[in-house]
Subunit: 251 residues, 2 copies
DNA sequence: AAACATTTAATTGTCTGACAAATCGAACCG
DNA sequence: CGGTTCGATTTGTCAGACAATTAAATGTTT
């Protein structure tokens, strides 16, 4: 039985068509791996030209809702939304949201550490050897002397992703991917001294140790310390910038 | 100075062009409200036809990265990603992720309550009169007798969104929008008896009371109870279904 | 001079028709 | 039986055209 679509009557045709097909997917009238009619058939059904149909399909492809294949048995197929793809969308959306709305560092940081804290009890319960090893490896990297600030930040992100993944809940990992990754551009604006790096490494070690021991509350405390320290670092940076660009330092 | 774009050399042209422009936006080479060259100019720059450019632009429009306007001073403009739009994308992505990957109820539920728990301390600190009023209003609605299961679920979602918003952190609200809303389809499969509704209303009340009193730990406990009860409800439902479709009930 | 109406130019939205590229299946041949 | 060729189908891209929309320039009237 052919799938039927409901069209709105406002806005561009390609947007209407895309919305109609998307609704059909979300509502389950089009199921995973099902093939949509060919572009020519869709054009006929919707009574539009093929380019218009194509623009609609590209909209859906941009959201990973469909994939297209050329050739005789090709066409557009409903995509199973994979965790990986969802991660990616999550990260770009979060990054843009932060960068384009001038979200202040404290707010973003607060959100991130609040969310990570939610993972700690589960991570303490389920952390596997692989997750612990990943965390240790990143800690080791962070302690290396000649590391650039950028690499340090990247390793920081990797550490926290390992922490999140240690909770063993893919839905949780998905939701936190954006929160953790989107902070990287903001963190990259900080210059880490040898002393501040050491402090961070110590706190990371404390977190890993606590998780390995299965002590959630100790890990939460270390995480809270880390959050406070990160906010303080950013605050210092802002203060230094303000004095440099404004009046002379008070001290 | 004209913005320059880097092209990959694999995949479809429209995807390459979309990626190039998206990168330019993410990297800040194209700033908010800046106008892109006209489709004809883009076609010239990228040495492709206008339909190809248009497909690329539609991909970006689908992600709310640009908006287009017709007319003399029209064109494609870089969009400021608004929280609202980000919420929407987050919700549809999360919903699809859950529905298409057969995520079991327990996993999704665990993730949701873990994330909500992260909001509680902040909500206890900052909850405003409006948030509390919204929560009370939803509790009141949930206690009404003739309410359909669907409306009950919708009200449940509204209650939890109010809880999340009470934390007063828009970034946190954004991240949790998906987690809370995407549960609704799963919750809708549950039939709520009068007794289970009463239990949920009681727990919601306990949460609201605790937040009003600023007692985070009490609210966290009530939330944990609610999580456990929800999981138990779903488990009961599964068990009943299994007996109905399989062997006779044991009791 | 000011207010209003008209024209004009620029730009996106859509259509038509065509061809290229990829891909599968079937017919064909060794 | 295995490999090859050919044809059919479908998406990807192109070229050119016209419609719809919008803002600015222009002209007209008061």
């Amino acid at each position: 039985m052919p799938v039927t679509y409901d069209l709105n009557t406002e806005g561009e045709l390609s947007a209407q068509i895309a919305a109609a097909i998307r609704d059909a997917i979300v509502a389950g009238r089009l199921i995973v791996d099902e093939r949509l009619p060919s572009e020519a058939e869709l054009a006929e059904q919707f009574e539009v030209s093929r380019p218009t149909v194509r623009e609609a399909l590209k909209r859906l492809a941009a959201q990973n809702l469909i994939r297209t294949q050329r050739g005789a048995t090709g066409g557009a197929f409903v995509n199973r939304l994979r965790y990986e793809d969802a991660y990616g969308q999550q990260i770009t959306t979060s990054t843009l949201l932060l960068s384009m709305n001038e979200v202040d560092f404290d707010t973003a940081c607060e959100a991130r550490y609040a969310l990570e804290r939610a993972c700690v009890p589960l991570a303490a319960l389920r952390r596997g050897a692989d997750h612990l090893a990943a965390m240790r490896a990143e800690i080791h990297r962070q302690a290396q002397p000649g590391l650039s600030d950028e690499s340090f930040c990247a390793s920081d992100v990797a550490f926290h992703r390992a922490l999140v993944d240690a909770a063993g809940n893919p839905v949780l990992s998905y939701h936190l991917a954006g929160a953790v990754e989107a902070m990287q551009p903001l963190m990259n604006m900080i210059t880490f001294t040898a002393r501040s790096r050491q402090r961070i490494v110590d706190l990371h070690t404390a977190i890993a140790d606590a998780l390995e021991a299965g002590e959630a509350s100790r890990a939460e405390m270390a995480l809270a310390d880390l959050a406070a320290y990160t906010v303080a670092l950013a605050r210092d940076l802002r203060a230094r910038r303000a004095t440099r660009h404004g009046a002379a330092p008070a001290g």
